[in-house]
Structures are given as structure tokens and as C-alpha cells.
């Protein structure tokens, strides 16, 4: 009897495709060294890389307040949160690399503007209340997006999402608690919270992407199990969760058309300004240039640290 051998003739593409389809149909996970269709791999790299970029750029708006946090407690919390965003970015770059992407190359593509990050981070954080509202609304929307991704058909992405979602809950709760504290404060502090809600509410609704009838590639991503719900489904879920939270906080959401629809059991919003969304995602948001310039500086100004560590490792024979 001959020993099992690792050298076998390559199975033909249709058999591989059938096996891939069967894995997806059974709701099993695709793992890094499995055969996968080229479109699946490319779509995932795009999605995971830009998700990673969003986490890394997402450190900036809140990072702006680290040195101006009003107490040591708030500063410790904010520092932990910004650190988590870095961690989330790294889990995701790690997942992207299992698909054949190169981490340093992905960073270059971000800095060159070839790959994007979430449009939400192109808005400025004008007051400390923005830190709370980002935790509540922006991270709340991120949770809505990310929880279904824990069941993504691609194993490493799903596992990264499970880790991220566990940590994201702290982000939302610290933000909401910060806002509750401010709402118990002076009239000026309450006004700051309302002002921040007024500025962030609509951009947070845009985080879910354009309406379903303007998302041509969604169907393929749904079939591949890398998208589990449509943009509009996720947005509706988010609105339904956020309205009672706004009421409990005592703020008004800046939408005169927001109404409770008894028949469907959902909150209905007014029309979203998709022109603004298109402007911001294509580079004309208030902070696009600053975000990229900072990321570039982080890469270039710290290059000597990377080089020094490499030289040290080489000298000591690592």
C-alpha cells in the first residue's frame, strides 16, 4: 500500500467551483487556502481593506480630543477606545493578507486615494460632545453593520468581526454614558449635545450606503454570503434602535419627517441627501485632505523607527 501523497493532478475549475458553491450553500466557511472564484477574492479584499482603512482613519476624529479630555477618567476611556480602533484595523489587515493582499501596499493605496474609507470620518469633531455622539451613533451604526458580518462566509473576516463586535459594545456604551452625563449638566452642555446630534445624525444614516435600488452589486455579495442584509434593511434596524435611545437621552433627532408607522412597526425618516454623500465620499468632505495627510505623515515620519527595528533585528540575527 502506498502512502498518501500531497502531489495530485489539479482538479478542473468546474469541480472547484461546484465545491465552493456547495460550501456556501451549506453555510460553511471558506478558509484561506481554499479555491475561491477570482471575483469573490477581489470583492473581499476590497471590502476588508477598506473596512481596515476605516478603523485606522477612524482613530483621528476622536484622537483630536485626547489632549483636551475633561478628566483623567474620560482621557483613559478615550485612549482605550482609540487603541481599540487601531486593533480593529490590524485584525482586518491580517484577514486581508490571508487573501493575498500586502499590508504595506494597502496602506499605500489608501494614502494615494485609490482605496477609500468610510465617509463618516470626513466630518470634523467640533466639541467634546462629538466624542459621545460618535460612540453612540457612529459606533452604533457600525455595530448594526458588523454584527451580521460575524457570519460572513469568509472565515478569517468572520472571526475578526466577532472580536471587533465584542469590543464595539464598550465604544457605544461609553459614548452614551458621556452624553447622559452632559445632559445632566448645564444648559450649555445640553446644547452642545443637541448640536452634535444635529450634525452627526444624517451622516450616520448615510453610513449604510445608498438605497437598495442604487446598489447594483449587492445581489452578488448576498449570494456569496459576504453581505447578509441590504443597506436599507440595516438602516431601518438602526433607526428603530436609535429613536428610543434619543428619547431616553432627551435629545431631538434633526428630522421633522421622523414618524412612527404603526402599521409596519417602524420609524420612518425623511429623505436623505445623497448628493452630500456623493460629494463626501468622492473627496470633497470637510476633512478628507486632513485625514489622508495625517496618515501619510504617520507612515513617512515614523519610517525611521521601522528601519531602526529592522536594522536591529538583522544585527542580532533574528
Amino acid at each position: 500500500m502506498s502512502a498518501p501523497t500531497l502531489e495530485r493532478p489539479a482538479p478542473d475549475e468546474t469541480a472547484l467551483q461546484r465545491q465552493f458553491d456547495a460550501t456556501i450553500a451549506a453555510d460553511h466557511r471558506i478558509e484561506p487556502r481554499d479555491w475561491m472564484p477570482e471575483g469573490y477574492r477581489r470583492t473581499l479584499i476590497r471590502q476588508v481593506a477598506q473596512h481596515a482603512h476605516s478603523e485606522i482613519v477612524g482613530m483621528q476624529p476622536e484622537g483630536d480630543w485626547l489632549l483636551a479630555a475633561p478628566s483623567l477618567r474620560r482621557k483613559s476611556v478615550l485612549l482605550a477606545k482609540v487603541q481599540d480602533e487601531a486593533g480593529h484595523g490590524l485584525y482586518l489587515y491580517s484577514a486581508a493578507e490571508t487573501l493575498g493582499a500586502d499590508r504595506a501596499d494597502l496602506t499605500d493605496k489608501l494614502i494615494e486615494g485609490k482605496q477609500k474609507y468610510s465617509s463618516i470620518f470626513n466630518y470634523p469633531t467640533l466639541t467634546y460632545a462629538d466624542v459621545g455622539v460618535i460612540g453612540w451613533l457612529v459606533d452604533g451604526a457600525a455595530i448594526c453593520n458588523q454584527v451580521p458580518l460575524c457570519r460572513s462566509s469568509y472565515g478569517p473576516y468572520a472571526r475578526a468581526m466577532i472580536r471587533v463586535c465584542k469590543e464595539e459594545s464598550f465604544h457605544q456604551r461609553q459614548g452614551y454614558e458621556l452624553l447622559m452625563t452632559m445632559m445632566r449638566g448645564t444648559p450649555e452642555q445640553r446644547a452642545m449635545v443637541q448640536d452634535a446630534v444635529d450634525r452627526w445624525w444624517w451622516p450616520s444614516l448615510m453610513m449604510f450606503g445608498p438605497p437598495d435600488d442604487a446598489s447594483p452589486n449587492s445581489a452578488q455579495s448576498m449570494a456569496w454570503g459576504i453581505k447578509r442584509h441590504t443597506n436599507d434593511e440595516l438602516r431601518q434596524r438602526y433607526v428603530d434602535m436609535s429613536v428610543p435611545q434619543a428619547q431616553a437621552l432627551g435629545v431631538t433627532l434633526p428630522d421633522p419627517d421622523l414618524t412612527w408607522d404603526e402599521a409596519s412597526g417602524h420609524w420612518r425618516t425623511g429623505p436623505i441627501d445623497w448628493d452630500e454623500f456623493t460629494r463626501v465620499i468622492s473627496g470633497s468632505g470637510p476633512m478628507n485632505a486632513v485625514r489622508i495627510a495625517r496618515r501619510r505623515a504617520a507612515r513617512d515620519d515614523n519610517a525611521w523607527v521601522t528601519e531602526a527595528a529592522t536594522a536591529y533585528a538583522e544585527k542580532h540575527g533574528a
Binding site: 449604510f208 459576504i226 529592522t310
Partner: protein
């Protein structure tokens, strides 16, 4: 509007073919090696693979793994291994490598019928 998905985690990002994904080939890359990271969650459990990172050497890989994968006491012990040093079986689950165990049902306790009256079996 480019095709945009909500699946950018923190919100909508474009997904159309205008977004490049293939890495450029460079003449010389002085990148840090890729390490795979394994964490023992608590005493009594095996180390489990949690992800990867890049580091210039083994010692810094451990430090980075602590910062990245155990920010909330998720571990009591960490292993890091250079990814190039890992040898893996073929990814195909129907691999002949695993075939020898496929027909050996007698290795499982349920293969044997024991009368119900026999205790502690």
C-alpha cells in the same frame, strides 16, 4: 455614484472595479516578516490561533501580540511563529491525507453495542 456597500464596517465604502486590490510587485521589499499568533486563554486550555501581525523579530512580535490580542486579559500565554515556518496539509477537506481515518468507525465508542442494563459504560 460608485457602487457603495455598507459593509465597510464603519460605513459605506465604494466596492466597484475602480478600487484596485492587486498588490504591486516591488523590486526590493524590506518588510517585517509575518507572524501567526496563538493565545492560551486561561490555564487548562490549548493555545488557539487568533490572527497574525508583522514584527521585526520574535521579541517584538510577542510585545505586539500582547498589545493587539490581549488588551482585555484574553490570554495568559502567547506563542508567535513565523508564518513561513508553518507546514500545512492541503486545504481540500476531501484530501486523501485524511482518508485513512474515514473508514475506521470502530475507533468510536458508538461502534460497540452494549446491553442497556450494563452500568457505567
Amino acid at each position: 455614484m460608485p457602487d457603495v456597500t455598507a459593509e465597510g464596517g464603519h460605513g459605506a465604502v465604494p466596492t466597484g472595479p475602480e478600487v484596485p486590490v492587486e498588490p504591486r510587485r516591488r523590486a526590493v521589499r524590506r518588510d517585517w516578516p509575518l507572524y501567526e499568533v496563538f493565545v492560551r486563554g486561561k490555564r487548562g486550555l490549548n493555545h488557539v490561533h487568533v490572527g497574525s501581525l508583522h514584527a521585526p523579530d520574535d521579541e517584538m512580535a510577542i510585545d505586539a501580540a500582547r498589545d493587539l490580542y490581549t488588551r482585555r486579559n484574553e490570554g495568559v500565554s502567547i506563542w508567535v511563529v513565523k508564518a513561513v515556518d508553518i507546514t500545512a496539509s492541503s486545504p481540500d477537506e476531501k484530501d486523501p491525507l485524511f482518508a485513512p481515518s474515514g473508514d475506521k468507525v470502530y475507533r468510536h465508542p458508538t461502534f460497540y453495542e452494549i446491553p442497556e442494563g450494563v452500568p457505567h459504560m
